[in-house]
């Protein structure tokens, strides 16, 4: 057994174990970590296949960017709000099993027939070395023959980004059912707060309008981030209205406790 085969075996076994970990872990963060391990090991296998560029891009894009964002979301969302991972309905389970078996069958067919379809292309190892290496050949291909498809992919990604922005607009959050509302506050966005604010007595409402923004439930909803630091919200309220009944104890001149 050559060293390469040994390394491949180690990488493959770890990748498979981590892959099962993705599905079996109870905690979604643990699932995400397992996925990271799988991706890194797959990148190692790509390196063994002399596809260094693919390996590095796999780590930068999937491990470094996409999964970090996934973790981000998982950590921010309350665990109770996440869908149940291991309690599918019976019909779901049947379909999942069926699709899984079909996928496995496809893979098996692909592996078994690979000698039939696998004809080597013009880019043998010698030709790639002559042309200056893997990265150079890949670059030549992607930015000469395949410029249009790559531009199209870029546009598709842009559309996806804009769609995500449109879906996550703060205005839409207020239309969700009451039970789903959480206290998301965006200091930079005037409409960043969930839900409709409670109606205020007319005098108070007028007094709580300031050039910087608007006062709601003790929080300053500012027009933009720059103006926020000019006046602290409680200072503004205190200056215009004086102490309010039911206010929590506030210390305007200094901080509480030791520093």
């Amino acid at each position: 057994m050559s060293a390469e085969v040994l390394v491949f075996d180690i990488l493959a076994v770890i990748a498979v174990i981590a892959g099962t970990g993705v599905v079996l872990a109870r905690n979604p963060v643990h699932s995400a970590i397992s996925l990271v391990v799988t991706f890194v090991n797959l990148a190692g296998i790509y390196v063994l296949l002399h596809a260094e560029f693919l390996a590095v891009v796999q780590i930068i894009v999937y491990t470094g960017a996409i999964l970090v964002l996934v973790l981000f979301v998982i950590m921010l969302v309350d665990q109770d709000d996440l869908p149940e991972f291991h309690k599918g309905k019976p019909l779901q389970r049947v379909f999942a099993l069926l699709l899984g078996v079909m996928l496995l069958g496809e893979f098996a067919a692909a592996v078994l027939t690979r000698t039939v379809v696998g004809q080597p292309g013009p880019w043998t190892e010698e030709n790639v070395t002559l042309a200056g290496g893997n990265v150079q050949v890949l670059g030549q291909f992607m930015y000469s023959g395949y410029v249009l498809p790559i531009q199209a992919i870029a546009v598709v990604l842009l559309v996806g980004t804009i769609a995500a922005l449109a879906l996550a607009r703060p205005e839409d959050m207020s239309r969700r059912p009451r039970a789903r509302q959480t206290g998301t506050i965006s200091l930079g966005h005037p409409r960043g707060m969930d839900g409709t604010p409670l109606p205020l007595p007319p005098g108070v409402a007028a007094a709580r309008q300031s050039p910087q923004g608007e006062m709601r439930d003790g929080i300053m909803i500012v027009n933009d981030a720059e103006s926020y630091t000019d006046t602290a919200a409680f200072e503004y309220e205190y200056a215009t209205l004086g102490p309010q009944p039911g206010d929590r104890k506030r210390n305007i001149t200094g901080s509480e406790g030791d520093e």
């Binding site: 905690n27 963060v29 260094e52 891009v57 470094g64 960017a65 973790l71 893997n134 630091t229």
Partner: protein, 343 residues
């Protein structure tokens, strides 16, 4: 590049990793000393001459500290997270060329561990894995300050990684390669200044000044150093992602931060200042000298600038650095095409 047996590569790698650890230890000493001088203090002076044994004393002290794990922490993740940071930080140094090959006992030895065709991208990739140490450490601590620090770190590193990656595209265009050995070799020629007979070294800092400045700013943010050390802003977040860490687990984060500073300084010196290329006697000493200039710059920044506000930090990355990067790439590409007479 010469072929050499695998075991020699391992030995070179071993030496590089150990030099990084020693460098890291004395980086902490240098930082304390330099900042002390800048603030008109004396700095460490009790342990050994000039306090030179201070890093060793610090290490022993950290080993002797109690190892705390919070009750509600995600224990496995809590234990693994600092190791991720610590393991990935020095990995990036393995592609940096420290000099020409040397000959010992008739065996030619490359002064780098490996010459990947995608060396620079590899360094970026390793850096992007390293951020998991911070994110998972903050998450596993079950502490809100830690989680906030981790979230900040994630957002900051993703944003600045884009600027960091795009700022060196100009270098790739000029060198025509992603391999650091090729990039250094491209800089070892000399450049005739407008045909005037005055020659300067073809270091990419002269042909890519904008890219160099962007790289420098993004590198400071990428290593979470002042003035971009928002993830561990002690005034608002106590200590950010490592609030709950103590003893040697804490020191893993500490080691990782300093090692990534050294590695990114080595990378900056290699990409923009010609690496081990010098006026006389090319060799590792030039690379180390150039890297120490960057390390001094890091310390200088920390002693000089106050911390940025978080929205300013994000604004700089997306509204200033990113457009400048794109302009730089466009200009460099046009110049390259013009010099190839393809325009």
């Amino acid at each position: 590049m010469v072929d050499q047996p695998l075991w020699i590569t391992y030995i070179v790698g071993f030496i590089v990793l150990n030099l990084l650890l020693v460098g890291m230890a004395y980086m902490t000493w240098a930082e304390r000393k330099v900042i002390a001088l800048m603030q008109d203090r004396i700095g460490p002076n009790r342990t050994g001459p000039f306090g030179l044994l201070q890093p060793i004393a610090d290490g022993i002290k950290l080993l002797g500290k109690e190892d705390l794990i919070p009750k509600f922490a995600d224990k496995r993740v809590f234990v693994i997270a600092p190791l991720i940071s610590f393991v990935t930080a020095p990995l990036a140094a393995l592609v940096i060329p420290f000099g020409d090959s040397i000959t010992i006992n008739g065996q030619e030895i490359n002064l780098y561990v490996t010459d990947m065709s995608v060396a620079v991208l590899y360094m970026l990739a390793v850096g992007s894995v390293g951020v998991y140490g911070i994110i998972l450490g903050g998450y596993a601590s079950a502490n809100r300050y830690s989680l906030l620090g981790a979230l900040r770190a994630a957002a900051q590193v993703i944003s600045y990684e884009i600027a960091l990656g795009l700022s060196i595209v100009g270098v790739f265009i000029l060198a025509g390669s992603l391999s650091l050995v090729d990039i250094v070799n491209a800089q070892r020629t000399s450049l005739d200044l407008f045909g005037s007979g005055i020659t300067i070294p073809n270091w990419f800092i002269f042909s890519q000044p904008l890219g160099f400045i962007i790289f420098l700013i993004a590198a400071v943010a990428e290593t979470n150093r002042a003035p971009f050390d928002l993830p561990e802003a002690e005034t608002e977040l106590i200590s950010g992602f490592h609030t709950e860490y103590s003893g040697f687990r804490f020191s893993f984060y500490f080691l990782a931060e300093y090692i990534s500073m050294i590695v990114i300084s080595l990378l900056a010196a290699t990409l923009f200042l010609g690496g081990f290329d010098g006026p006389v006697a090319d060799g590792p000493w030039w690379l180390l000298l150039k890297a120490s200039i960057f390390l001094f710059f890091y310390i200088w920044l920390r002693a000089t600038l106050p911390r940025f506000r978080y929205d300013q930090l994000m604004g700089i990355a997306w509204k200033v650095l990113l457009p400048l990067c794109l302009v730089n790439i466009l200009l460099t590409g046009l110049i390259r095409l013009a010099s190839n007479n393809q325009l």
